[in-house]
């Protein structure tokens, strides 16, 4: 089997699992974990194409993945700060009940 296809299949499955988790769970921290999984799946895609694809630019895929990792870390930090602030306000995690902008 084409090795690139195998890595892309793993990345697609990982993305689907992350998306399912982000949509199913009530605890916003787990939702953020699902989002991180989706970002990781996209990174895997990038690196797989960097390795097996044609190389007019020998570095783009790797550099993109590295910047993506940095952005994901920053976004996780801010997201978790928001989660903490929301918890402090609402004292509970019931994401499906938090459907109003009013406090």
């Amino acid at each position: 089997m084409n090795p690139l296809a195998a890595y892309l299949a793993v990345a697609a499955l990982l993305f689907a699992i992350g998306l399912a988790g982000a949509l199913i769970r009530r605890n916003p921290i787990i939702v953020l974990i699902g989002i991180e999984l989706m970002l990781n799946a996209a990174n895997l895609n990038f690196i797989a194409f960097w390795r097996y694809g044609p190389h007019p630019e020998a570095l783009t895929g790797m550099i993109f993945a590295i910047f993506s990792i940095a952005v994901a870390a920053a976004e996780a930090a801010v997201g978790l700060g928001l989660v903490i602030a929301i918890y402090r306000h609402a004292q509970t995690f019931a994401l499906d009940k938090m459907n109003r902008m009013k406090g």
């Binding site: 903490i84 918890y87 402090r88 004292q91």
Partner: protein, 395 residues
């Protein structure tokens, strides 16, 4: 003849390994090379651990004006055997409410990540297990993965003190990890590579009789001091051992571990100390290169271990001498003093690199570093006014 003999003794372990591997078919040779290297690491460094434990207990004992252990064997040198037997036959108690799987896995994860760090250390000429292009990054990444094992241990024990110790340990480790990483970047800048054997080779030159080790340059000395302090904090050694202080939090994150699992934590901590010393030796003290140019006939692995032992003696000396640092003092120290100083050291290293050879760069860099040390230190040690303690939970 003298040169050939010295070169052979220097490479004796490589020659032994190649001889053993030559009995195998060619397809299996890379695998056998790796296996022999791994077995060597697993054999050598835990024996060093045993030696270091005795050294530490007797050394700290002497500093505290008492004998260390001196019953088992001559001068107490066989104490690790007694300790090992004790650890193996003690009952392994797992608290009933503890999370059994995580509780079991935590010491394993710690030991695995600590051992992985040894894979990139160049123990002698050509004697590293793996020559990765980003070997230094690999080592630091393994150190970062160690924090997770500490948290797993603390949380799975379902014990307030254990969790508190684990949180303190993780907070301390992530703060000092930044300092550790930045202090090694100066070496990478000057030597031009992240691969540890190449860093050692860049230091393997001699001006006259004296070696070109990075610790003998102003920025290198500053970076080495930062590295040693951060290394001590990363491995939870005194004076930064609040997370596991016996008089403070009763062994912190490894309270609920007994018997062999505690022995694994103990081994893991000392192996981390040895590997941090190994990295410090490689980056700043010239790795396996000899201290004077007329001593290069002695084998490279001898110099490496001699320098690692010197670093370990410094670790033990500081443990016996300095009082424990309080948690908030520790965090302040990392973020408000060490981090700005390390960033300044980066700038100074760049200045050194671009100023060209000569006495001027020595004077300028030393002046900047000393001025920064004095200024930052005076800012940090202003009198603080203590008020009622305020906690910042999430609710």
């Amino acid at each position: 003849m003298h040169g050939a003999l010295a070169a052979n003794v220097d490479q004796i372990f490589i020659l032994l390994r190649d001889w053993v591997v030559s009995f195998l078919p060619a397809a299996l040779r890379p695998f056998a090379n790796a296996v022999i290297g791994v077995v060597a690491i697993i054999g050598v460094f835990p024996s060093m651990f045993a030696l270091v434990v005795v050294l530490e207990r007797k050394g700290v004992g002497r500093i505290q004006n008492r004998y260390g252990p001196n019953r088992v064997g001559p001068y107490g040198l066989l104490q690790p055997i007694a300790d090992g037997i004790k650890a193996l036959i003690k009952e392994d108690i797992v608290p009933s409410r503890a999370d059994a799987l995580v509780h079991f896995l935590a010491p394993l994860v710690l030991l695995i990540t600590v051992f992985m760090g040894y894979a990139v250390l160049p123990v002698g000429r050509n004697m590293e297990l793996v020559d990765m292009d980003a070997g230094l990054l690999f080592f630091i990444a393994m150190g970062a993965a160690t924090e997770l094992a500490v948290f797993m241990a603390g949380w799975s024990s379902r014990n307030k003190y254990s969790l508190l110790g684990a949180m303190r340990a993780v907070a301390q480790m992530i703060s000092y990890e930044v300092v550790l990483l930045l202090s090694t970047v100066t070496v990478v800048m000057i030597s031009g590579s992240m691969s540890l054997p190449r860093i050692v080779e860049a230091q393997n030159r001699y001006t006259g009789v004296f070696p070109n080790w990075y610790v003998f340059t102003p920025w290198g000395l500053a970076a080495c001091v930062m590295f040693v302090i951060a290394g001590m904090a990363e491995t939870n050694r005194s004076p930064f051992d609040v997370p596991e202080g016996e008089s403070e939090i009763i062994a912190g994150y490894h309270i609920e571990y007994s018997g062999f699992k505690f022995a694994i934590f103990f081994i893991g901590e000392y192996l981390a100390m040895i590997s941090m010393s190994g990295l410090g030796t490689t980056l700043f003290l010239g790795g396996w290169s000899a201290p004077f140019s007329f001593l290069t006939w002695m084998p490279s692995w001898f110099w490496f271990f001699a320098k690692v032992f010197f670093c370990l003696i410094v670790y033990i000396w500081i443990r016996g001498t300095m009082p424990r640092v309080r948690q908030d003092q520790l965090m302040n120290f990392a973020w408000k003093f060490l981090l700005p100083f390390t960033l300044l050291d980066l700038l100074v290293t760049a200045l050194w690199r671009f100023m060209g050879e000569g006495w001027l760069r020595w004077v300028v860099t030393t002046a900047i570093l000393v001025a920064a040390w004095v200024l930052l230190g005076s800012v940090e040690s202003r009198r603080r006014h203590f008020g009622p303690r305020r906690y910042r939970y999430a609710e």
